[in-house]
């Protein structure tokens, strides 16, 4: 009995470390000296809190790395620490570290530096990591809430700025709405099979003793619930407002972390539990992926605000990742499907952080410097930042030699192997459409005259250059990364 508990705790040790570290940090932050001028708002300019938060994430990452190759299962099969979750956890922890680098000076500059911010970041991160390990629908729900609730607060952390509060309220109301769908979907699957454990659902499905209508309804509601989180059309309405209103560093984290965790849950639940129903579910996923790519890309064309443009671009990219999920149930393809989705998530994370780092560098107090026109002349005045933005835009479009190109290549190959030529065609055509608005950013930066002001903050610059170099370098040496992704395939114990 004690042995069981120890193995279970051992399986989720990286998350336990992160969550406990966050609790302790919350107390430590109280005793750190506060800046007198900003103290009525609880502002803290001390660099110790972000450093300690980063240290916690590094510790957690070290544990994950030490575990690679040793899959463990805990809590009677509710949690699985396998290759898949290790891959996702490392990606999430790296995103968390980059977010700290992006946030530190930015939050100070906007006068919203608060110690709790980093604690919330760590709580949200532990929810995301739990989500990648969940092998039980109850855990999927609980970790979804653990990742979302801190994110709601983070989106509104710039209060009393109205746009930040508005972003938080919209994100909160639609996020809670989505979790209602998710819970009801889990309820229906439970009603159909008598269990919420993915292993037992598969066993019941094989025995044939289940209610088909209930399980399909449940799967549809689960897609809806998780679709809100990863911003798939038609569940994307909150995305532009929430991304625009939230502080840019939070948006960067939200767009990478929540999407990664949401897709991790979608992949695990559908590939493990519902492969038998792929004939019914695949057409739905096909339609959602196509709709998301088309609507996300076309809506982005009309945008003049860079944060809104990146929000629609993130919707479009959710559609591309969704494409990988379409052939999930075909024999021999589920491994490719998971690997290409994981690879694209990495590509998306690097590219997105590069783009958001530049946005943060150019943002001025009072939400200035966020229009496309404010980027005019960046190529002459700040050539390095303009180069980072250009790399990010080319990678989003899918031009070699960038990670975005390699990611799209693997995605389209998986989709074509699954025989969905039409979907691949839509993907390629919408990529062409996306070139229009991504390249427009580059044109504005290099060919128009202007006097943009950018911040020179060491950590921010390090993150910008690091992500951009990663986008290019990893695309040239993409084989090891793809090997890691294909090692992270999903299997039941």
């Amino acid at each position: 009995m004690i042995g069981d508990i120890m193995t279970s705790l051992w399986a989720i040790l990286p998350v336990i470390v992160l969550a406990l570290w966050a609790c302790v940090l919350l107390l430590v932050d109280l005793w750190l000296p506060k800046d007198q001028q900003g103290s009525q708002q609880g502002e803290s300019n001390s660099p110790i809190t972000p450093l300690l938060a980063a240290l916690g994430m590094l510790t957690s990452a070290a544990i994950v790395i030490a575990r690679i190759g040793q899959p463990t299962m805990g809590f009677g099969g509710m949690m699985m620490a396998d290759g898949f979750s290790h891959f996702i956890c490392l990606l999430l922890l790296a995103s968390g570290l980059v977010t700290i680098g992006l946030s530190h000076d930015y939050m100070k500059r906007l006068g919203i530096a608060r110690g709790e911010y980093y604690v919330l970041l760590m709580f949200s991160l532990s929810g995301m990591m739990l989500m990648s390990m969940s092998a039980d629908l109850i855990m999927v729900f609980l970790s979804l809430e653990l990742l979302s609730i801190p994110l709601y607060v983070m989106a509104g952390i710039a209060t009393p700025r109205p746009s930040s509060e508005e972003a938080a309220l919209k994100y909160f109301l639609l996020g809670a709405f989505a979790s209602g769908f998710l819970v009801y979907g889990i309820g229906l699957v439970f009603g159909a099979t008598g269990s919420t454990s993915l292993q037992q659902i598969v066993a019941v499905v094989q025995s044939g003793n289940y209610n088909l209508a209930l399980i399909l309804g449940g799967a549809a509601l689960i897609i809806t619930g998780l679709g809100f989180k990863v911003a798939i059309v038609p569940f994307h309405m909150w995305t532009p407002d929430a991304y625009q209103g939230a502080p840019s560093a939070v948006t960067a984290f939200m767009s990478v972390g929540a999407k990664t965790a949401g897709f991790a849950a979608l992949l695990r639940v559908f590939v493990l539990a519902f492969p038998a129903f792929s004939a019914d579910i695949t057409p739905v996923l096909w339609g959602l992926a196509a709709l998301t790519m088309v609507l996300g890309n076309f809506a982005a064309i009309a945008q003049r605000n860079i944060k809104r443009l990146l929000a629609y671009s993130s919707i479009a990219h959710a559609g591309y990742i969704m494409m990988a999920l379409v052939p999930y149930g075909q024999d021999g393809l589920s491994a490719d499907s998971v690997a290409s989705a994981l690879f694209y998530l990495v590509a998306y994370a690097f590219t997105n952080f590069a783009a958001w780092a530049v946005v943060i560098a150019l943002e001025q107090a009072g939400e200035k410097g966020l229009e496309l026109q404010d980027y005019a002349g960046l190529g002459r005045k700040h050539p390095a930042l303009a180069a980072v933005m250009a790399v990010a835009m080319l990678s989003f479009t899918g031009v070699p030699p960038t990670l975005g190109f390699v990611g799209k290549f693997y995605l389209f190959r998986t989709v074509l192997e699954g025989g969905h030529v039409g979907l691949a065609l839509i993907g390629v055509l919408t990529s062409l459409v996306s070139a229009f608005y991504y390249l427009r950013v580059i044109v504005v930066m290099y060919m128009q005259e202007g006097e943009p002001e950018a911040r020179r903050e060491p950590w921010l610059q390090a993150m910008a250059y690091g992500s951009a170099i990663g986008v290019v370098a990893l695309s040239i040496f993409s084989a090891p990364l793809l090997f890691l992704a294909s090692q992270a395939v999903l299997k039941l114990f």
Binding site: I149, Y152, V153, E166, A167, L169, F172, Y184, F190, G194
Partner: protein, 100 residues
Amino acid sequence: MLPIEYYTGLSVILFTLGALGVLIRRNALIIFMSIELMLNSANLAFVSFARSYEGMSGQIFVFFVIAVAAAEVAVGLALIVAIFHTKRNIDVDQINSMKG
């Protein structure tokens, strides 16, 4: 004992009412109440299925959902109060400073 269809039927009705409430009502508090209704309809489905399978796991899930709903209330009401402080209004149609 009533057959299980009665309970699940009621939970479907409650869920639909909740979802419609979110889509139709414009007051942030009422939208929030409708979301709670959706969660509670799921709870009803869970306990009734748990009864028909004669297991405890569904009933335990209900406790998780209640706990999470309480956590959501804490954050949600704080957000609504903060919005009310700045805007003196919690009508979601009036909260539309961002366009595009």
